[in-house]
């Protein structure tokens, strides 16, 4: 056996280690913020500026003042830390401005239009007051559902080919590249594609819901492929090998082991893709058009959808402009609420289907 006796410990230097540093109190950023706002307010009083310049002045004072104070008390490293923290919070705030103001505007302008009748009536025979978006909600639901039914099988199966069978061969690489290109296709081009396709088949002036669903699935398939591909790549190869070692054929391994393991992520991806295409306007405008009455048959005739309803309400103008604008805001609020619900649903479903550890 080796001698495990420890060698004698080296003598520590006599000087004590200094682990303390002067620190700003915890409320220092708050104080700096209040002081900066005060300075901004003072400038506003003297120069008579509005809200935005005041905010900018206050921000500049805070941005210079807090790091300077920190540098004086805490030293260089802490000062840089405070500077970078300020930058991070500022950019976060900037990113939140459009989101918050959008939700604020939509709710503020849209809530007055919301009523039972608004959900329960179509626009048939309505010019001025009254009317509703019943027909547009149904149209959006039908067309988005059709697009989902078309895109999900194609997208998921394509991703399965890419990850499980195509392992980096030339075809798989080409498909991945084309999917990436498709992700960037402008939605109006997808609409034109569907329009051209059905004009070739059924002659000019064709308008129906399935055309819109096909245009939307052109936009949706690449998103579904991408999301599913990433999720399938996350499934460890060890699980596939464990399944093969039990004598399970490849297709059954994919269906019974790989897909269930990735299911939560795939459903989340699909739901987000639905939310993404539910608000598309341009392709539906071209191939579906809009109408004032309820049309439940996607294979025949124009259908109203929420985005196109909003667009046409705002652009109609004329005598009843005020009513049209109010209905447009109401429809916008409903559309935002639907998209938000779909996002929440995606998180919820993702959590339910995630593999459980039992801990």
């Amino acid at each position: 056996m080796t001698d495990l006796q420890t060698p004698e410990a080296p003598q520590l230097p006599a000087a004590t280690l200094s682990l303390t540093r002067p620190q700003l109190p915890r409320w220092a950023p708050l104080l700096a913020g209040v002081v900066s706002l005060g300075v901004g307010g003072l400038v506003a009083l003297i120069a008579g500026w509005g809200l935005v310049p005041v905010a900018i002045v206050a921000w500049v004072v805070f941005f210079v003042g807090l790091p300077a104070w920190s540098a004086a008390v805490e030293g260089r490293r802490a000062s840089i830390d405070r500077l970078v923290t300020t930058v991070a919070w500022t950019t976060f705030g900037l990113a939140m401005i459009p989101l918050v103001s959008l939700v604020y505007e939509v709710i503020g302008n849209g809530h007055s239009a919301i009523s039972w009748a608004f959900f329960n009536n179509s626009m048939r025979g309505v010019l001025g007051e009254g009317g509703g978006i019943y027909h547009a909600i149904l149209g959006t639901v039908i067309i988005t559902a059709c697009a989902t039914v078309i895109s999900v099988p194609i997208g998921v199966l394509a991703a399965i080919y890419l990850v499980e069978y195509g392992k980096k061969n030339r075809l798989a690489r080409t498909i991945t590249f084309l999917v990436d290109v498709m992700t960037g296709i402008p939605s109006i081009v997808a609409g034109l594609f569907a329009f051209a396709l059905f004009t070739l088949i059924f002659g000019p002036g064709v308008r129906f819901g399935i055309g819109g669903a096909i245009a939307l699935s052109v936009l949706m398939i690449p998103i579904v492929v991408r999301a599913t591909e990433e999720m399938l790549k996350l499934v460890p190869d060890e699980l596939r090998e464990a399944s093969y070692a039990l004598g399970v054929p490849k297709w059954r391994t994919i269906v019974k082991v790989v897909l269930p393991t990735a299911l939560g992520g795939i459903i989340t991806g699909v739901t987000l893709a639905i939310a993404r295409v539910a608000g598309e306007t341009a392709p539906l405008l071209i191939i579906v058009g809009t109408t004032t009455s309820v049309n439940l048959n996607p294979f025949d005739g124009r259908m109203a959808t929420l985005p196109v309803f909003i667009f046409s309400s705002v652009t109609t103008g004329g005598r009843y402009e005020a009513f049209n604008t109010e209905r447009a805001w109401g429809a916008a609020l409903v559309l935002v609420a639907i998209v938000m619900l779909l996002n929440l649903l995606a998180r919820f479903i993702g959590a339910i289907f995630a593999p459980k550890t039992g801990r």
Partner: protein, 259 residues
């Protein structure tokens, strides 16, 4: 129900790279055969070639013969899926299926092959396999809990239960104890001793004491030189291997004077 395996002139490639060269050996039925050797010398690669798991990796291929029960495994008429049903495998890292309960994990081999069975039959298989893997007493009250919730050692025994639930002829184990503590290791070694009476067991291990404890025959793999393919240096009964090996490098490796 156990079978012996005859390997002759086996060369294993990854693409153009020759990983293991010229292996000849006979693995006896109802015995434990251990493979030892330094990392990267092709023990695991060789093990995986015994049930055609090797070819799961793109570009991997094999030359030579592996004969089980008179049938050459690499014959074009052989179905790799059928081979893997007869020759089970336990991996280095425990890999229970995360979406399944303990109960379903044990039955995975049967269920995934869509074998229909009655509930009583399934219960019997689960109990028998878990008892065989020495895990029944620890999990019998929580069979419906996820398999991922068990400790590492329990997960590994769950994987062994899953492998023996399909009643293979041969059980291949690729460093089954390398991620486990000494107590779980000893539980699995006891298990190997018990399984020996009904299965042919082949185990890869980095632990020389483990090879000495559990195996009847031992094969020593080594690289001829850095960058050269791995080869089987010596294959002998374990007793002879650890007391009086034929080859000098075997003795050097076993006694720790390696390289």
């Amino acid at each position: 129900m156990a079978k012996s395996i005859d390997v002759s002139d086996l060369n294993i490639y990854y693409g153009d790279f020759l990983a293991v060269e010229g292996v000849n050996m006979t693995i006896k039925a109802r015995s434990v055969t251990a493979f030892i050797g330094p990392s990267g010398c092709g023990k695991s690669t060789f093990l995986r070639s015994l049930n055609r798991m090797h070819e799961v990796i793109p570009g991997a291929r094999v030359e030579g013969k592996v004969v089980v029960d008179g049938q050459s495994l690499y014959d074009p008429t052989i179905d790799p899926v059928a081979v893997r049903r007869q020759i089970g495998m336990v991996f280095q890292r425990p890999n229970p299926f995360p979406t399944m309960s303990i109960y379903d994990n044990v039955l995975a081999g049967n269920r995934l092959n869509s074998k229909r069975m009655r509930k009583s039959e399934a219960d019997a298989i689960v109990e028998k396999s878990l008892q065989g893997a020495n895990l029944w007493n620890e999990v019998k009250d929580r069979l419906d809990k996820p398999g991922m919730g068990l400790s590492g050692g329990q997960q590994q025994r769950l994987c062994i239960a899953r492998a023996i639930a399909v009643e293979p002829q041969v059980l291949l184990m690729d460093e089954p104890c390398s991620a486990l503590d000494p107590i779980s290791t000893s539980a699995i070694e006891d298990l190997i001793h018990e399984l020996k009476s009904s299965y042919t067991i082949v185990i890869v291990t980095h632990n020389m004491q483990q090879a000495a404890r559990v195996s009847d025959d031992t094969g020593f793999f080594n690289l001829r030189a850095a960058g050269k393919p791995g080869q089987l240096v010596e294959f002998n009964p374990t007793k002879k291997m650890f007391t009086n090996p034929d080859n000098e490098s075997t003795e050097a490796y076993i006694s720790g004077r390696f390289g």
